[in-house]
Symmetry: C2
Subunit: 498 residues, 2 copies
Amino acid sequence: MTTAYETLLERTREVHLLESTAEILSWDQETMMPAGGVEHRAKQMALLAQLSHERASSDELGDLLATSADEAAGDDAIANVRELQRDYERRTRVPAALVAEMAETTSRAQHAWAEARAASDFAAFQPWLDKVLHLSRQRAECLGVPEGGELWDALAEDFEPGMRAASLERLFTPLREKLSTLVREIGSATPPSNRFNELTLPIEQQEAFVRSVAGSMGFDFERGRLDRSTHPFCGGSHYGDVRITTRFHDDNLGDALGSTMHEAGHGLYEQGLSADHLGTPLGSSVSLGIHESQSRLWENHVGRSAAFWRWARPQLASTFGAAVADFDEPELFRTANLVRPSLIRVEADEATYNLHVVVRFELERALIRGDLTTADLPAAWNEAYVDCLGVEVPDDRRGCLQDVHWSCGLVGYFPTYTLGTLYSAQFYAAAERAIPDLDGHIERGEFEPLRGWLLANVHCHGRRFSPDALCARATGSGLDADVFLSYLESKLRPVYGI
Amino acid sequence: MTTAYETLLERTREVHLLESTAEILSWDQETMMPAGGVEHRAKQMALLAQLSHERASSDELGDLLATSADEAAGDDAIANVRELQRDYERRTRVPAALVAEMAETTSRAQHAWAEARAASDFAAFQPWLDKVLHLSRQRAECLGVPEGGELWDALAEDFEPGMRAASLERLFTPLREKLSTLVREIGSATPPSNRFNELTLPIEQQEAFVRSVAGSMGFDFERGRLDRSTHPFCGGSHYGDVRITTRFHDDNLGDALGSTMHEAGHGLYEQGLSADHLGTPLGSSVSLGIHESQSRLWENHVGRSAAFWRWARPQLASTFGAAVADFDEPELFRTANLVRPSLIRVEADEATYNLHVVVRFELERALIRGDLTTADLPAAWNEAYVDCLGVEVPDDRRGCLQDVHWSCGLVGYFPTYTLGTLYSAQFYAAAERAIPDLDGHIERGEFEPLRGWLLANVHCHGRRFSPDALCARATGSGLDADVFLSYLESKLRPVYGI
């Protein structure tokens, strides 16, 4: 006899088949699809979204969940039912009319944003931002404010279960202060040379190099691909077919390498998810913050370490030959750790990146609370950039119009980037404690012990534990910004001689 | 108010969205998907097939069809309803249990076939072939034998509406006789040199060359792609996203060029389908035979003509440089028209290809009628090859086990290859009558008049006319093997001096 739980999993896996089909179409759209495919592809995606939404919010699923909750026995079943119940409730709380209005508004808002950004014309985007915020607030009301929380929290749950604005404030306020101070100190010191990343290197060789680094990290090309796209991302359908992308510039190997290691870090998480639990919560990634911790760990803790460059130096020489003969390991390491306050988040370095994020969190929280009007957003943005990063914002294109997120309705998303940073530092420190001579392994290009530790402590758990509980299990403590701050200070102070 | 016909088209377009999603996944599987994706992809494809089948055979669709048939006004609506009615009837006549049994059996039969072919062990495949034939006969009974026809006809309708075994017999018997005679005569003459297609040429240059030929033909790369796959094919989602593939060998440019022109011919048909009628019968290709006529026209009538090689000679020189300096146009033309009786259909030349097809048609018809048992198939196959092509079949791997079709349940498919050949000759002859100095245009690389004629006379009609009626409208006469035979004789006799 088939139990309700078994039928529940069957239905859940069917939804996953539809969602993973959309994932492949989405990857295709970014990497392969000819221009003529745009309109038809949007219709295919809309239909797939409709079909999976119908199935994921059906009454039948609700009944199966109720019966399964009564029956569920064993840790796996209990965890899966708990997570499916959560997803189902969130999906069914928002009326279809609001979902449709949100979809249509954000689709048009994205076009308006793209035009407004190109023209650096915030006024043209402002009414759209108002609409998106208005609908987001309505959505948050439907989803329900967590106990003791605020509207913003209801939205942030989409990306990071358990994330609360009030806790973030406690975490981010000192982080902002300490990072700003560090960045200011760095600003008054002599920066390392950046000539390595200004070197013109053939793109075919760059590609061979980053592909080999991804392979060394343990990214399995039998269960994945690496392609090019304008904005690097990690997609694919499941643990057996994980697709990462990167981008190349003639004269910025560091960008291609950083992007590749970042996306390969995401890719290792996806490839490390449980095959037995495919298509169910226990076989899915737990949150954007934890996902981002995996990418940042490889991009920063590995890719910007002295040990990594001791390994990479001869690899570079064998790929690029005489062109790189002039660069020794200390210079390569220092170049990888160049800190330069700048206007654009996606181009920011390891130290300043989180300041960009904190600014966005504070502003979007104020917008949702009604403490800030959209009319006042540009001025507030520009003031925060002077305050945090010491840079003057010359126009809104390079200011509050730079990110696509709000136009897509992604409110509550930005902080996950910084949670990823903080988690990555904690995971890396725990891995260092667990793996004797981790630095020595990395210096020898032996990345397997680190990947194995991440697999056992993060990847394999799927959504069994909350992000915070997962962190506590793996590292011995909950979210804590100090681990990141000490790591950063102890690396950057010697680089800058401060 | 929405009419039943409008709702019918809406539902039909939804089915097309699902089918075209499966088409993209299928293209991805052949060109991009890593090995680890196989199992999950099969599940995605099965779910998409189930969803589109449910929709395409729903009671609601049946009701909409009935109402639309009463209401339909205007040529477009009448044609669309007629074709949708036909598809609906065929889909709903076969019980779900038989569809499922067929799907499972053919899936397993394909594995058995692949193993049997590798081992050249017909006995291992024979029980599977028996099962497939048994189920095919059951399917044909459900579909219904056309008036005055036979079981085989019911199956062939899947691929070529209106195709009847008895008519094919009348067409193929003299074709077989005349082609065999011509091939025998050619066999006793001195063959042209094949040294051009034995030349080792860099694959990047080969790719640049065939890509440029496809572009010259009018294949629109803004609405399509060209990639590599083991077996060349034409796929994609709709007229705005058409994906063709080709293959390369170090030392056989002719194969890459022929495959590319063949698939680009299919691609031009797809890109030429009506945008207004996207997702409905009037925006779909009419039959496999007509589709194949478009590929063969470009591959053979254009690609193996003296005029084409007068154009291509300087193109070759500018791509491959000194490597091809030694080849003049007459030699290139003669090499493209080399005739060599062989064992393998997919490697056959323009003259012998149709003999391979006729043999298959005669044998599968006899199998379905019960005039031939599977036990006697290898002997019958080998005898026919001696008789038609004058070649001894050394083993079943290169004999009756060479094609995947029967293991997939594709009974009634093979003749469409030859119908394509015959239609292509008729279309090309009509285009020659309609376009003054077509040879001159081709010699100057002006392919647009020919593409334009095909667009106006074939592509744009979709399924408005039956294949035979389409041919009659475009060429002034129905299917006729003599046009092909005269074309072939008048080209090959001078090449072979016979």
